[in-house]
């Protein structure tokens, strides 16, 4: 399907030098005379030569290829993580290989290819990463850096927001704003991030004498809408809600907004998670806990740096980055709903 690229040998022939000289020229080796260099560059230009990186990978055992495993990009938070990660990796001269994974068995079809292309590391930004899936990645014998999957495992470098602490802060804040009947609208039951956020929230609430309602569903708009419909149908609906992520929060707002049957308490306080751009949109003004993804990415890249520098490293790392509460109207004055304030 493709006309061959010129090789360094072709360039060497045309320039009248050896292939080694061409190689040296293109890697910026100093031991090349100016004359040779210019002859080489000229020939390369003429032949439209593009150095092939693949042999180098085989020889140096280093591809500068990093796999990014994602799933569920409908969440703008992960879209942002993906974009920032790609930019930062490019800055450190790495290329991103993208792998989308829906379910755990989807991993089976992707993993062989990742290893086949000899990626140097795998970064998982999966919202759901089970232990089995983590094992599959670790068995690549390649470092695995995982976002928001607090898992103790050899070969796994974990970077998370301090979800439990964030949950506590959400509880404190909602209570301080007058919330008395607390609820948590969460993600999948066994998701590690969900577990930690819920636990922190529930523990802090109980410590202050409140028993929160706890609910689970998808980490999505639809999941939020469903949970709101259930929770607010109660005779004693909550007046302060902490949502496992912003999409859940916005989905919940949608359910309240649309249903004339549901009449939530006024004011209704709400806090979300991730601080996606949409939280700041005028109709919402949602308070949210910002995950400092830039700091998280910093950590991930410094691990990667260490790996490249062959620094001795612990065989597993668990880093926690504190979340930051961003308060907006939804938790201060209460959520605005049409025809109700």
């Amino acid at each position: 399907m493709r006309k061959h690229y010129a090789s360094s040998t072709d360039v060497a022939r045309l320039a009248g030098v050896s292939q080694s000289t061409v190689s040296r020229t293109f890697r910026g080796d100093t031991r090349v005379s100016p004359e040779a260099r210019s002859k080489v560059m000229e020939a390369a230009q003429e032949l439209d030569y593009r150095p092939n990186l693949l042999p180098r990978i085989m020889l140096t055992q280093q591809s500068r290829l990093v796999a990014l495993v994602i799933g569920g990009m409908h969440n703008p938070f992960y879209a942002r993580v993906l974009e920032r990660f790609t930019i930062r990796l490019q800055e450190m001269k790495c290329q991103v290989m993208l792998a989308h994974v829906d379910s755990d068995d989807a991993l089976d079809s992707v993993v062989p290819r990742l290893s086949g292309y000899r990626v140097d590391a795998v970064v998982s930004a999966l919202s759901v990463l089970t232990e089995a899936a983590a094992n599959q990645l670790i068995e690549l014998r390649v470092p695995v850096i995982s976002f928001n999957t607090h898992m103790r495992k050899k070969g796994l470098y974990t970077i998370s927001c301090d979800n439990q602490q964030a949950g506590r802060e959400a509880a404190r804040h909602l209570i301080s704003q007058g919330g008395r009947r607390l609820a948590y609208l969460g993600g999948p039951e066994h998701n590690p991030a969900n577990i930690d956020r819920r636990r922190g929230f529930a523990e802090e609430a109980r410590a202050r004498g409140f028993e929160p309602v706890l609910s689970n569903d998808e980490f999505s708009f639809a999941g939020g809408a469903r949970q709101a419909a259930r929770i607010f149908a109660s005779a004693t609906p909550p007046d302060a809600v902490f949502c496992g992520n912003d999409l859940i929060a916005i989905g919940a707002v949608d359910a309240l907004w649309r249903s004339s049957e549901i009449t939530p308490p006024q004011p209704l306080r709400m806090v979300g998670f991730d601080d996606i751009p949409q939280t700041a949109w005028a109709p919402y003004e949602l308070s949210s806990i910002l995950q400092d993804e830039e700091a998280m990415i910093d950590r991930a890249l410094s691990i990667l740096d260490d790996l490249y520098a062959d620094v001795d490293m612990p065989d597993r790392v668990e880093l926690l980055v504190p979340g930051k509460m961003i308060t907006r109207r939804s938790s201060l004055n209460g959520l605005q709903l049409p025809g109700r304030n």
Copy 2:
């Protein structure tokens, strides 16, 4: 940084067969005896062997690597395109190499690497692709498939929504809903998609006796907010607005929502573009023109298929996929704004 992977030669030695037999076994070649096969598999298991794809690429001149060049993932439309593309490419046994490009000169640093890894094709989902940038990609001597960049160029396969037609339909629809003072809130002046959408809208409006106000800014939330602030400050503000994309529309809504000084006509009709999930959110209920990204991706992949199958192809292709108007409250009953309806 990495312990070497076992090679097929290692496996061959342990299994007591030749390297060729190992190779054949792993490529599913039929000409391998069951005994040999099982010996090989056993040894491979033992050594945790992972076939290296790189030599194959060098020999076959085919990497099954497709570069996806993106920029501006804050637009959920492109996030969705990226996700779907990745999934579909994986289904056809290709791997995505991601490249983020902000500006045209960012392309300079990325292009050499894409060619270095010997990608088979480049898909550009850049919202902004200038002619110079397009040339750089084409000079890779690799097929370039471009989304929403209607450009006539050899080596460039263009797949766009029929933006001009969509612009016409937006004008017709807004007028039929009673709009009289039309406005277009657009993206960057020279962006091809912006040009086509605006032209279609303006031509159709004029054909029906209306002279629209035309405005340009970024294809973003902030761009929409700025344009709205300008446009609605007029003594005769528009009563029907077509926005170059949904983010612009939502940004415009934000400006209206927040400013007490702006009092737009009632009803105010609005139509956006892309039909991102947010348009359907309760506070907005924005009508929008759906880009059928699945159909667009279908086309892109079939081009790729043809390339892999070595089918004779025209040296440039321009495909248009019709947009589909999704009508919601914002263009039927008019936009809902707080305290004004």
